[in-house]
Structure formats: C-alpha cells, structure tokens
Assembly symmetry: C2
C-alpha cells in the first residue's frame, strides 16, 4: 500500500445547540470527508480520544460515530495500530472521480492574467535531467567527500543554535560571507568584502535580482550568442530588450556589440569559460569591454559559473577584479564545485548598490536557509573546499583528456572540438545540413545525452553540434559514449 500522511485532524465542525445529535454530526462530517477524498483511502485517522479533545466533546459521541462508520465499511480498525480509512470503500460511495490535477473545467467568471512579460514555458527536454555521458551541468558526485560533509552536518546539529533556526540576515550569514570573500579575493582576484556579498539560491536568482535592480523596458542588454538559455529568462520581468552579440575564440565580440547597440545598458558575459562555446576571454577583450561599459554607462554581469576548473591555460583575473568603475556585478555558484541541489549562489555587489539589491531580494524571498551556509563556511575554513577543487580538477582534466582523445581517434579528426580549456564541458560541431536536435532526440533512446548546440542561439546564425558534458561520466563511459556518438552520426549521414 502506498504510504500516506497520517494522523491529521480532519476539518469537522460540531454545534452543541443543533438539533442533530453530536454523534450524527461527527459521523456525517467524517463520511463527507471520506467521500470527498479529503480523507484518503488507507489514511490513519486520529484516535477517538484525540478527536474528542480536538472537538471539545466527550469521547462517547466520537465512539458512536466511529462504530457506525466501521459498520458501514468506511473505516477499519487494526489492533494496536489505529483506525484507518478503508482502502476499498463501499460501492459508489466516492462522490467524484480522482482528479488528474490538470483537467480543464469551464470556469464561471473571467480569469484575466498579468499582461507583463512572462518567461517562455519550462520544457523538460530529456537531456536536462540525464546523468553520465554527456549530460551537462553534472558533477563527479563519486568524488564528493561525503564522510567529511556528513561530519560537518552532524556537528551543525550537535551545536545547533537558535540563530540557525530563526529569521536571519537577508544578505546571508556574515560568517559564511567572510569565508567566501576570502576565497574570492584569493582564488578569483575579486575585489570584495563580506558586506558586498549576497547569498542567493543559485546563479538564476542572482541574475533575476540583478536584472530587476539594473534594467527596465528601455534597456538594451547584450547577451552572448550562443549563450546560457536561462539567462534571458531571468531578465523577462524587467521588460528589457535582449541584443544577441556573437562570440569568437577570444570571447564576446565587443566590436560587434558596439555596432549592434552602442548605448546598451548592460552585458551578461561568461569570460572565464564562455557558455557554451568555451572560449576564455582574452585580456585585450576584457579591457575593451570594460572601456566600452565606462563610456556607455553600462553594467557588466560576470557569470563565473565554473571558473574553478581550468586546464593548461594560465589563470586570468576576474573582470570584476580589473574593474575600476564599480560596474561589474560578479555572480558565482556552488552548483559546479559541490552539487547542483545545494542551491547556494552569490552576488558580489558594488558597495553603493547593496541596499538596492537587498530591497529587491527581500521582497521576493526573505532570506536564504541557514543549514548549508553554516556547513559550507566550515567546509571552506577547514580547507576542504580548496582540497576538493584541487582533487576534482585532476579528475575533470583526465576526463577531458580522454574525451578529446577518444573524439580524435574515433572520428579521425573529422569532428572539430572547441572550448576544452576549462569547465566541465566542450563542444563538437557537425555539418550544418544535419539537425543536432533530431540527433539528440534519437540519442536519448540509448541514454546518450547530447545537448544540441543550436538550441543555445538567439539569432539566426546557428551552428549545429553538441555540448558534451563530462562532469558525471567515468572514463569507460566517455569512451563508450563517443563510440555511440560515432555510430549515430554515421547512421544519420547515411540516411541523408
């Protein structure tokens, strides 16, 4: 039997002054609740004692009502366990069929909705929730130090303080933000103090809050093309105009952006590892972008989503660290270094805008949960975070090397690989006459996850290809995945 919530008191109102005796009232109310399925089949109902206390009546009428329901087959009693709604109810007793939850009934009056811009519908493409070769956004969970994590979690509960359970600072825990500021200054050359950091539920909330503070319907905002699809969605509420700006091997093509919209109000960029094409923005481009922003009075939103993982290339300081005009908003997340469900991200805000960001955040979501903030602080301070990044960097580097080598061997260099210097994914391009989306759908049948490159484009100049994630795929799986990809492409070409 499916497990159901149990022991809840149903909504029953009794009236001592009514003509109907109390046991009849209680009987009718319970019977009605069962018929309307407010009490589910198999659900445990309160004991007669509990119900009597709740209704402030003596136990006698409750016992009488229960006896009648028992006799009629609505409830059943299990010795020593309790009383339950029967799983098989008397014939035709249910007054309505179980609703599917999504059926459409004709509403009575008008039901008008907001005319403000609404983001595009969420579509659960099959490759979004995949794991292994070559799902993107996935990490090597098997290398996560769970024993350490559990120990810190247990310590949190042992030393539980009221402050961890109550309302707290809407910016996030100050102790955690101090540890984070230290990490960002050291590892990413971000110029920041704890007071400038806001803890949010991830990059998405970071982008949404930032957009609401900075942009409105008269704003043009540069977005890399191709780019992270959801970044645009985060800006929908602002009503701003999205301007797609092409990227090349040096990152965002600043000159093209200036040509398209010189007076834009902002730009969202992924300079450490362009998503999805993987370029690391060159120092020259960084300076060019900052210079443009200074002249245009524009904001730069630096989404540093996976900069912890770079291979071979020399580290380049964050854009934020180069900025002297306080016009860079720096966004980061723990989804890629720890695991996606942790839902902890952060914004480094120019000091004079902290209050504005705070007002917007507080109105939409009072404050972040404390548990992971406290555990993460210890994880960082005790050196586990640095160690974990160092370890997984080696893991991912090896996976990347094997993937690049397998692609070379299997495809005999006929499948161009780009953007493999950093991050947890790379991109392969396929001939334009093939459809990456069709192939990706076919690949799903054999549990091969190929995120189509063309889906990331805003403008028309779409390349065809796949974004291949290697974060959650072991070496044999990577090799097997490449072979399957080869078979799939061969079949597709033949049918062309």
């Amino acid at each position: 039997m499916k497990k159901v919530a149990s022991g809840f008191l149903p909504v029953i109102a009794v009236d001592r002054r009514a003509a109907q005796p109390l046991h009849k009232q209680i009987y009718s109310a319970l019977r009605g609740a069962i018929q309307k399925r407010n009490l589910s089949a198999g659900e445990k109902i309160p004991s007669s004692r509990e119900l009597a206390i709740d209704l402030r009546v003596s136990r006698i009428p409750v016992l009488n009502a229960y006896a009648q329901l028992l006799a009629e087959g609505f409830i059943e009693s299990r010795k020593g366990v309790g009383t339950f709604v029967c799983t098989e109810l008397p014939g035709e007793q249910l007054s309505r069929p179980p609703s599917t939850g999504r059926e459409i009934r004709v509403p009575h009056g008008p039901r008008p909705l907001s005319s403000n811009p609404i983001p595009p519908p969420f579509v659960a493409r099959p490759w979004i929730f995949g794991q292994g070769a070559f799902a993107i956004g996935q990490v090597a969970l098997e290398h996560f130090p769970f024993p350490t994590w559990s120990r810190l979690m247990a310590r949190h509960f042992r030393q539980l303080q009221a402050k961890f359970l109550n309302f707290s600072d809407p910016m996030g825990s100050l102790e955690f933000r101090r540890a984070l500021a230290n990490y960002l200054r050291t590892s990413r050359a971000v110029n920041c103090e704890a007071e400038q950091i806001m803890i949010v539920s991830g990059s998405q909330q970071a982008l949404e809050v930032t957009g609401r503070v900075l942009f409105d319907s008269r704003s043009q905002v540069w977005i890399e093309d191709p780019s992270y699809r959801l970044a645009r969605n985060a800006l929908t509420g602002t009503g701003c105009e999205i301007v797609p700006v092409p990227v090349d091997a040096e990152g965002l093509d600043v000159a093209a952006g200036i040509k398209a919209a010189r007076r834009a109000r902002g730009a969202i960029v992924t300079p450490s590892h362009q998503f999805p094409l993987g370029a690391v923005m060159t120092a020259a481009r960084r300076l060019q972008l900052l210079e443009w922003a200074e002249h245009a009075g524009a904001w730069i939103i630096e989404d540093d989503y996976d900069s912890e993982y770079r291979y071979g290339a020399m580290p380049i300081s964050s854009l934020q660290g180069l900025d002297r005009g306080r016009r860079v908003i720096y966004i980061g997340t723990f989804s890629k270094t720890l695991f996606p469900a942790i839902r902890v991200g952060y914004i480094v805000i120019p000091p004079d805008l902290v209050d504005r960001f705070l007002a917007v955040r507080h109105s939409a979501d009072l404050f972040p949960p404390m548990l992971y903030q406290d555990v993460l602080r210890r994880f960082i301070e005790d050196g586990h975070y640095a160690r974990h990044i160092r370890r997984t960097r080696q893991v991912y580097q090896e996976r990347r090397n094997v993937l690049v080598q397998a692609l070379k061997t299997e495809f005999d260099d006929s499948l161009p690989v780009i953007g493999s210097d950093a991050g947890l994914h790379l991109v392969v391009t396929i001939p334009r006459q093939l459809s990456d989306q069709e192939i990706a759908l076919r690949a799903v049948e054999s549990k091969l996850w190929l995120y189509p490159l063309s889906a990331h484009y805003l403008g028309k100049r779409r390349a065809q290809g796949f974004v291949l994630g290697y974060g959650s795929a072991g070496l044999p799986e990577i090799r097997a995945g490449v072979r399957r990809l080869h078979q799939l492409l061969r079949k597709t070409r033949r049918s062309h």
Copy 2:
C-alpha cells in the same frame, strides 16, 4: 586569531618566455596579492609542491620565491602546519586600507538603474530579530523534536541518492508534494492534487510568483488594512495598485472593498487568522468574498500562514476548499509549525495555471533544494508532523491563556485584547494619543519586543497598539514581559 579560508591557489600567471626569471615572477605575484589583500593576513597559502603543480613549473623557483617572502616578513612557516601570510606585515606594505564595503567612491561614467518600481528599503527594526516575549513569527524551538529530525536527516544521508544532489523538478519533489496534498486535503479541506502544488522558499516567494502571474500595472489589488507589510513588497514588481481594505471582527470588510474598488483584479487575505488583528473570517464573509471574486473576475490569494493553531473556535474550511470557480491561490508555509529558517513554503495552484506559474518560478529560481523536502516528507508520512502540531497546539494554547490572564490581571481589563482565538500572537491596543513606535523603541532597551501595530497600516486610520507574539516565550517570561509592559506604559502616560 580569526579563522580564515585556507589553501586556495592565488591567481598567478607565469610566463616562461619572459625576461624576468620564474622565481621573480612568482615572488612579485604573491607579494602583490598580499599587498592588495587578495591574500589575507593569517591565511594559509598552498605548499610549494601544490603551487608548482598548479603553475606547471618545477618546485625550485617556487621554493626560491617563498624563501624571499619569508625573509622579507610577508609569509611565515609553521613546522608541520604549513605556510601562512604574516598577521603583522612589514610596515606600510599594505597598499590600501581595509574597505568598509559601503563607502562611496566617485564612479567614472554614469551608472543608471532600473526605473521599474523597486520595493521599499529593508530596514532591520530591532524587534524583527528578537526572541522571547513578545517577538512575532517565533516558534517554540524547545518543543521541536530534534532527535527525530536528526535521525531522519541521518537517514537521508545514509540513503543518499544521486537524484537528491542533482537538478530536480522545478515544482518540487513529487513524493513530498503527495504527502503535502494529503495533509492539506485532510487538515485544511483544500481541494488539491500533488500536481497542483509548487514548493517555494516560503510565503514571500509564493506571493511574489503569484503576483507576477496574475497582476500588472492596470490591476488593483485589495490588501487587508492593517496587514502583513511584506505582502505589499512582494507585489512591487508587478506595478499593480494596492487598495487598502479595512478589517473588522469578521475579517476583511468585503462591502468596503467593493465600494473602494469593485473591479479589482485580486485580494490578498488571511482568513484563518487575520494578520495582525487576528479575526477568523466568518463563513458569511467567505461566501461574500468568493461571490464578489466570481462577478469581478478577481483572484483571491489565501495566505494560510498559521492556521494549524486555533483555540476554542471551530475549524472552518479553507477558502480554497469552498471555491468552485478556481480563483483561489492557496499559500502555506512550514515556518510557523517547524522553524523559520527551514525556508519551505508552497502554493496550491488552479490546475490550468500550473504551467504559467512554473515558467515564472523557473526563470527566477530553478528549483527548491532537496534535503528538507525529503526529510519533511518522511516527517509527515511517519506521523511526526501531526504529533508535533498537536503537541505545540497545547503549548501555545497555554501560553496564550497565561498571556491573556496576565494582561487582564496586570492591567485590570484596561488594555483591550483582540484576535487571540488562533495563531501565535494577539494584539493589544493603547490610547491613540500614545505612540506605539516610540514605546516599542524604548522597550528594546530592556529586551522587550513590541511590534508596533500602527506600522501594519496602509491607510491613515491607524490604531496604536502592539502585536504580541508568544511563540518563543515561556510562561515566566510572558508574566515578566507583561509586568514590564505595564511599567513602560505607566511611565509613558505619566510623561504625557
């Protein structure tokens, strides 16, 4: 010494082809990072071995650079522990004073912000974060079954599955929503299936998402006056017009609302326990409100924030359960029954609007964290939740009784008490010539938390008084708090 994050690799770029020898380059980069405070005083730096691996150089130049920094007093070595940035740096070596994080420097170019409506600034009034007598929004943490909770948490970690760590359904865990649907059908007579329930971070996010789906700048929205201040803030982004509607002992004054704005697009109500005045909306008013909504084509947002706690009064079904036109959005939270930092709330959405709500939610915050969802599901299914509510209902009822009695005794019936039939707070009113805000500020000095009633009003007809929370105050503290309140009011009257 303050603990700082440790072991992170600083951003250092070395160039083998440069004229400057490698050890000089490494020395300069580290010295620069320390001077710019990107490496903090007392911070552990990577071992020479780790840094050499990271920079892809031999260990010799790193050792040379470390030796020079050691000699110059920038770093210090502790046997068997590691190498650290000196806590006392050589005189005048720091290139800039520590920033306060909020100072204003003159920016270079213009830095224009959004002209869209922005919520009022967040102000941390002293009584917001108080605990004990008579902080509001606080719960009896000492009665929370932590051993059970920790056990379920430990079980979650023992049985950890990849699906708990990865991206998951943006509506929330289906298993958890099933348990919740069952609870809501039974205990609140909410007409719902799991598929209609969206898990959010609390009532605030629930209100914000709902507002964005339903309202725009042409919408008028009824808000109870007085009401929960933050409900208005949640709607700021929609641009809607707030229409304050008075409340009386029967709840929202529907006739007054119709008079003020017959064609309003929606109403936000707290029918189970009006916030802050505490009325339980009568059945007649509920039907009147639903009827108006049907004719006007309006939405009703039912914020059922603390309905689990009612004393004496007979339970009344939720508005949502009475609605036949699918125009009630039902909002609930675990902040009041468990603890505020849990950050789990939910929206029961009319089935045909689920996709619309989902698009808005997903654009702002991909999906809710899994840990508490999984633990809460077990907590509900195993009957702990029902037991906890039953137990705390008795605790709060006793606290309420003691508070009401103490107010009667101490003030000799001169301080009117309202709204004590449900919830975790009640209201006392004071003569209009006194200022509740001034008294509340004075009370803070003796750690007595009095949330001023007048602060909850939108319109001008403000009553003076206090919202007294008893959720986190034990019986002796309640009695002492009432005595202090009496002294305070006596002093204030005398000075008048």
